[in-house]
Symmetry: C3
Subunit: 401 residues, 3 copies
C-alpha cells in the first residue's frame, strides 16, 4: 500500500493533533530510535543501544509520527520496543514529508534519523539493526533499549538524577568485553580465543562491564572536561563546567553534578554534588550501595571535600570536610559551644538540640545531615572530631526566610 | 623423513604411556605454545608471549606429544623453550592424528593449536613467531616465555597466588610502550620519532611497562567485571564474581581475590582478598614491597575495608576497618576490656595476651594479625585507635573446633 | 629566485656566525617545527601541535637557518609563529646543504625535519599542516604552538619545572574530544552525531580536555614506567627511573619528579618530588590551585609519603608522612621535647623556635615547611598529631655546613 505523503506543515499539525486526541493514544514520556549492537554468539541478545536523538517530555509531534508509523497508537504497558522495518521508514518518511528537505543541522533531528534510516535501507544496512523505543510510564525497565533510553535521559540532563526507576537494570544488561565502542560477548571471545591469539588478532579489550561509558554516547558541554573516559559511567550526569580529573575519581550512573564542579574523587551511584563544590583528590562520597544505609547523599553548593576525605551524610551549602576525615552517619562530632549559635544562623529552620559533654554539644553525623556551613575537622591536639562554622559563604534563600 | 601418523585413540594412549615411562622423561608442571612479539629493533628480544592454551598439571598426553615432537624427551633444567619449526608441527600433527578432525570448540585445545600452526605455516606466517614453553620445576624463570607461562597460570587460576617462584621476573621483561596489544620497543620509537610525528603516524601509546595487562591475555568469568583495563596487571588473579571499579583501584601481579569481591581500592603485589570481602574506594592493602616488612597480607572472608583505609596486616574473617583508618604492624590499638571476651569467642585458638593500660588491653597491629571479627576504628571523642568485636558474622570451621 | 646551496661545513659556519651577529638578530630560547591538528569545523583553530624535535637553549645554527629561511632575522616580540611554506623548505634545504646527506638517526635532527617536509611537500601533504615556532623570551604564551613548545620543554626535561611562564595557557587551548592522538572539536561531534551514530561510526573518545597526554608526545627513558597513559598530562616532567602506577596516581602539567621515584599518588600542578622519594598509594601532594595558599610544594629526597596521606607543605629530605595523615599549613603538630634536638641536628640552619604546651613544642605545618628528617604521625593513644625525627637518612650538603 502506497502512503500518501503529508502535503504541508499545516496538514502535519492537523495530523499530530488528531493522532494525539485519538482514543487510547498516550503521549510518551521518552522515545527515540536506537542502533543496536547484538551478541556475536547470541544475536537475540542486545548488548548496546545507541541513540542519536533522545526525546524526553518533548517533540510530541515526532512521537505521533513514530507511533503511527509503528502502528502503536493504542499500545499498553510502560514501555514498547519494536524493530525498525522498511514499512516503518516509508510511513514515517511520508508523514515527515513537509520537513524532509530542511531537516539538517540543528533542526528536525528526528526527521534526520528517518533520512539516515532511509539511506541505510537503500544500502541494505538497516534491517535488524535499529529499534524504536517508547516509554509511556516510568516503571522499572523491561528491555535493554529501555534501560539505555533512561541512562541517556540522565546523562543528557533531560531527567533529574534519582528521578527515574532503574530497578532491575543490572539484570537486563549483559556483561561484555568492550573494545572501543564495540561490545563483545565473553562467550564469543572464549569460542574464538585460540584462533584470535594464534593469528595475532585478539582484540584490545578496554573494559568488561554491563554498562558502557558516558563518552561513548554523550558529547559534553564545551567547558566540561573528562580527563579519562573510564572515569564516568553511562547514566552519570555532568553539569556544564564539571571537570573530572584522572587520579582517583569516578562518577557512577545515576550520580553526578548539578553545577560547576571540580571532581577528583568518587561520586557513588545516587550521590549528587552541587554548584561550586569541589570533590578533592581521592575524596569518597558514599552511595546507597556503599555505606549510607540507603540514604542518598546530596552535597550542597560551594562545598569543599578535602583530599582523601569520606562523606557518608548529605551536606548543606558552604560546608568543608577536612582532608583525610571521615564523616559518617554514626560518627560522633563535638561542637564547641561558641560555634553552635553561628551554625544556627545559617540553618534557621534546623533544630539543633544536642546533648552536652565536657563543654561541647555532641551530635552524630546523621543529626548533622543537610546542615549548611559546617566545617568538619579533627582536632590535632586531642584527636577529637569537631564541627565548627566554616569560613565559606552560605547564601540563604531570601524567599524562604 | 615421513612420519607415520598414529592410527587410533588406542595407539595414541599407548604412545603416551610409553613416552612417559621412558627413561629420563619428566612430566612438566606447565607447558604451552605461545605466539611471540619480538623487538622491532632487536628481534631477538621477546617483548610478549601470548598463550592460546595453558596446560598446568594436566594434559600429560599433549605434553608427551609436544616433547616428542620437539625432541625433548630427555631434557634437563627447570624450563625449556624452543622455536616452533615446520618439523615440530608435522610431527605433532602425526601424533595427534586420531583427534585431528574432531578438535574444535571445547575439545582437544592443544590439537587446535597445532591445526592453527599448520594453517599459518601454509601461509608462511609461522616461522619465528611461536615458541614451545615447558616448565619442569618451579624454579626462578629463565626466559620471558617462562615468566609469561607463570603469569598465565596465576591469572587463569591454575596456580594459587604466591605459590610460584617469580624471582627475577622483572629483570627478564623489557620495558615497552604498548599500543593496544602491541608492545613497541622504546628504542624503536626514538629511532622513528621524527618520521612518525611528521607524517602524523605516531602510535597511540596506552602505557609503558614491563608487564602487559590482564585483559590482553585473560577472558574473565561472566560475572566478573573490570571497568578499566589499566586496573589489573597480567599475573593478577580474579575469582569469579569480582568487580574492579575504575576509581582508585588496582590489582598488581601475584595478587587478587579468591571469591566474590567488590574492589574499589588497591590490592598490592602478594596481597589476597577472601570471598565476600569488600575493598572500599581508595582503600590500600599494602604489599611486601610497600610497607609490610615482607609479610604478605591475606584478607579473610566477609571483611569490609572502608573507603580510604590502609591495611598493612593480615585480617581474619568478618573484620571491619573503618573508613580513613590506617591499620599497620606498628600501630597501637586499644581494646576495651568488655570486648576481649567477644573477640576470643571467634578466635578460639588465639592467645590474646596483651598488656593493660587505662582500662584497655593494648596490642600492636602485628599482634592482631589474622584474627577474626575485629572492628578497627578511631574513637571520635578521644582520637584513640580502638578495636572492638565487629558486627559481622564469623563462621568458624566446625571441623577444627 | 633560485637559492644557492651552501657549499661546505665551513661556509655553513660562516653563514651562522654572520647571521647571529647581524643587527637586530636574536638567538631564540626555544624553537622547532611542529605538525598541526586543526579544528574540523574551524580550521583556523589549532587543536594540537606535535614537535618531532625541540630545541631549547641549543642548536643556534639551526635557529639561524630557520629564521633566515622564514625571513625573521629582525623580528619583534617574545614569540613568533609562521606557516611552513614551500619557499621556507627550499631555502632551509639550501642552507642545510652540507648536512643533507648525512642527516639521519641521531645526527642533524633539524635537518631531518626539513628532509621530511621536503618529502611531504612532494606528496602535496605539507601546506597548512606545519608551523615554525620561535620563542625569544619567556613571556606568557600568545599562541597554541607557543604553549606546546613550553610543555615540550618541561616534559623533555629541557626546562626546569616551575621555571616557565605559562600564564594564560588554559585560555589559549581548546577543549577537545581526543580519539587516540587525534583531537576532535566537540562542535564537530555535535554536528555529525546523528550520522556517526546511525552508521556505527561514532569515534572512540578517550578523554575530553584542553591538554593532551604526556605519552602522546614524549618517549620516556628506558627505566621509566607509566602504567596508564591517562595518569600523566603533557607538561609533566618525569625523571628517569620514575614509575607511575595506575591506582590513584596522577601527575599534572608543570609537576613531576627530579629523580628515581615510585608514584602511586597525586602530584598536583606545581608540585615536585625529589630523588628516592615514594608517593604512596592514594597520597595527595597539593598544588597551588588546590589548598596550599599559592605556595608550591617541593618534596625532598628519600621521602616517604604513606598511603592515603595528604601533604600541603614542602618537605625536606628524609621525611616520613604516615599513612592516612594530613599535613597541612594550618595543622598543629606536637614535637616531644626529646625529639627537637635530633631534628635540629639535620636542620642546622633552621630556627626551631616554637611555643611549648604540655611537654611538647607546638608548631604549625607552615613552620615546619622544608625541614629535613621529620616523621609526621598521629599518636594512636591520644589522637595527637606529632612530629618525631624520622629513621630515614638525611645527607647534609657538606659544602654548606
Amino acid at each position: 500500500m502506497a502512503i500518501t505523503p503529508i502535503s504541508s506543515v499545516e496538514a502535519f499539525k492537523i495530523f499530530v493533533e488528531t493522532t494525539r486526541q485519538a482514543d487510547g493514544y498516550r503521549d510518551p514520556i521518552g522515545f527515540g530510535i536506537c542502533r543496536l549492537d547484538r551478541g556475536q554468539v547470541n544475536p537475540d541478545k542486545i548488548l548496546q543501544a545507541t541513540f542519536p536523538v533522545v526525546n524526553w517530555k518533548e517533540n510530541y509531534g515526532s512521537a505521533a509520527v513514530f507511533l503511527s508509523a509503528a502502528d502503536l497508537l493504542r499500545s499498553e504497558g510502560s514501555e514498547v520496543v519494536i524493530d525498525i522495518t522498511p514499512a516503518f521508514v516509508e510511513k514515517a518518511k511520508a508523514l515527515f514529508s513537509p520537513y524532509w528537505e530542511e531537516a539538517e543541522g540543528e533542526v528536525h533531528k528526528n526527521v534526520q534519523v528517518i533520512k539516515l534510516l532511509d539511506e541505510l535501507h537503500q544500502q541494505g544496512k538497516m534491517e535488524g539493526n535499529f529499534s524504536l523505543v517508547v516509554l509511556f510510564e516510568d516503571e522499572k525497565p523491561v528491555t535493554v533499549q529501555g534501560v539505555y533510553l533512561k541512562l541517556y535521559a540522565l546523562s543528557l540532563g533531560k531527567a533529574a538524577l534519582r528521578s527515574l526507576n532503574l530497578n532491575g537494570a543490572f539484570g537486563l544488561l549483559t556483561n561484555c568485553a568492550w573494545s572501543g565502542n564495540q561490545p563483545i560477548e565473553l562467550e564469543w571471545l572464549r569460542q574464538n580465543e585460540i584462533a584470535l591469539k594464534m593469528k595475532g588478532e585478539y582484540p584490545k579489550i578496554d573494559f568488561v562491564d554491563k554498562f558502557p561509558r558516558y563518552l561513548q554516547h554523550v558529547i559534553p558541554a564545551d567547558n566540561t572536561r573528562i580527563l579519562d573516559t573510564a572515569k564516568v559511567r553511562m547514566g552519570a550526569q555532568l553539569a556544564s563546567g564539571t571537570t573530572v580529573m584522572p587520579g582517583a575519581s569516578y562518577i557512577n550512573f545515576n550520580a553526578g553534578t548539578t553545577g560547576v564542579s571540580m571532581v577528583e574523587g568518587r561520586i557513588s551511584s545516587s550521590a549528587i554534588v552541587g554548584d561550586g563544590s569541589d570533590v578533592g583528590g581521592g575524596a569518597s562520597i558514599l552511595g546507597v550501595l556503599s555505606g549510607t544505609n540507603g540514604n542518598p547523599v546530596t552535597i550542597g553548593k560551594n562545598v569543599l571535600l578535602g583530599a582523601n576525605s569520606v562523606t557518608g551524610i548529605p551536606l548543606g551549602d558552604g560546608c568543608i570536610v577536612d582532608a583525610g576525615i571521615a564523616v559518617l552517619e554514626g560518627t560522633k562530632f563535638f561542637i564547641p559551644q561558641s560555634e553552635l549559635a553561628k551554625i544556627a544562623e545559617v540553618n534557621p529552620d534546623a533544630t539543633l538540640d544536642f546533648p552536652q559533654s565536657e563543654g561541647f554539644w555532641v551530635a552524630k553525623g546523621l543529626q548533622l545531615a543537610g546542615l549548611n556551613g559546617l566545617h568538619f575537622r579533627q582536632d590535632s591536639a586531642t584527636g577529637r572530631m569537631i564541627v565548627l562554622r566554616s569560613r565559606r559563604d552560605v547564601k540563604l534563600n531570601a524567599d524562604l526566610h
